[in-house]
């Protein structure tokens, strides 16, 4: 049979505007063989079930920056919630109904005096149970190496210029805590509802490499 035309074939973009990863229709790699084998052995030996694998993928797919955006928007519009978030961000997120598993979360607040940015120099720790899987650059050697020694230059490359009278605070997720930045609320959004505010909160603003943006 001739090579079928797939609608996600070479060079096409996904609905989120990103290129697809090499997928089902390319030659089976050694590591893909290992994934299939580990999965089947764990299922055959009763350690996990196929349904659990399926459900876990669905659970991760449902986690996205939109969840974090709702948390941030609520903090902007509800001072009591903001206080709870800064005390225990994990509990505050759970109280909003988000299933973040056992994750320990700390929220760090941007102010007129402080700009926070998050990195994991040892691996790729990220608040994945709230925001979903991290972007590729977050896991890159360049981001992990440079953010702790030249954070202002890194931020500048992301389009964020920090004034010299603002302290940059880099959070290295070295151990058991995960971090979310609570960006400063843009002046022009004062008075908007939490639902409207959530559209202003970008993924990058919750990592600290971006600022909230007017919805397109």
């Amino acid at each position: 049979m001739p090579h079928d035309h797939h609608d996600h074939d070479h060079g096409a973009l996904s609905p989120s505007g990103h290129p697809y990863r090499k997928d089902d229709d390319i030659v089976l790699s050694y590591w893909q063989m290992m994934e299939i084998s580990v999965r089947e052995l764990l299922i055959e030996k009763g350690h996990i079930t196929a349904a659990q694998v399926h459900n876990q993928i669905n659970t991760m797919d449902a986690r996205s920056p939109a969840n974090g955006a709702k948390v941030v928007a609520r903090a902007w519009s509800d001072p009591e919630f903001k206080s709870a978030l800064l005390t225990d961000a994990g509990q505050a997120s759970r109280d909003m109904g988000f299933d973040i598993g056992p994750m320990h979360l700390i929220a760090v607040e941007n102010t007129i005096l402080v700009h926070n940015v998050v990195v994991c120099t040892l691996c790729s720790c990220y608040p994945r149970n709230l925001l979903g899987l991290p972007p590729d650059w977050y896991k890159s050697r360049a981001y992990r190496s440079r953010t702790v020694i030249e954070p202002r230059k890194v931020l500048s490359e992301f389009g964020v210029e920090i004034a010299q009278d603002v302290q940059v605070r880099v959070h290295d997720s070295t151990a058991d805590m995960r971090y979310i930045v609570l960006p400063a609320q843009p002046k022009e959004t004062m008075g908007l509802s939490a639902d409207e505010l959530a559209y202003w909160v970008t993924r990058d603003s919750m990592i600290g490499v971006g600022l909230p943006q007017a919805p397109k």
Binding site: P19, R144, R146
Partner: protein, 99 residues
């Protein structure tokens, strides 16, 4: 890693393939089953060394670590893994055929 010389940050982004999502799920489920933990995942990744970081993708390194952890935990033997991989390879030439 932290503070080491490094080049520009590549902002390209890709959507995860099914096999990558499955690797992620296997790590989470094997941890819930008590067969491994985040530190044991990281320990094997670190022991794989610099070369693996340069030559393997993120989830390629992860499945290598998960697999090593499963052998260490007694979930299956290296012989069982080798047999299974041979069977998988015989199923076809693409991921879709073999899975």
């Amino acid at each position: 890693m932290g503070g080491d010389p490094a080049g520009n940050i590549n902002h390209d982004q890709h959507d995860f393939a099914l096999w990558e999502k499955r690797v992620d799920a296997l790590m989470v489920l094997a941890s819930s089953a008590g067969l491994m933990n985040t530190d044991s995942l990281r320990r094997v990744l670190e022991d794989m060394g610099e070369e693996a970081y340069e030559t393997m993708s993120y989830y390629e390194r992860w499945i290598a670590s998960v697999s090593q952890n499963m052998v260490e935990a007694g979930a299956f033997s290296t012989a069982e893994l080798a047999d299974k991989m041979a069977q998988v390879k015989a199923r076809g030439t693409t991921y879709g055929d073999a899975t």
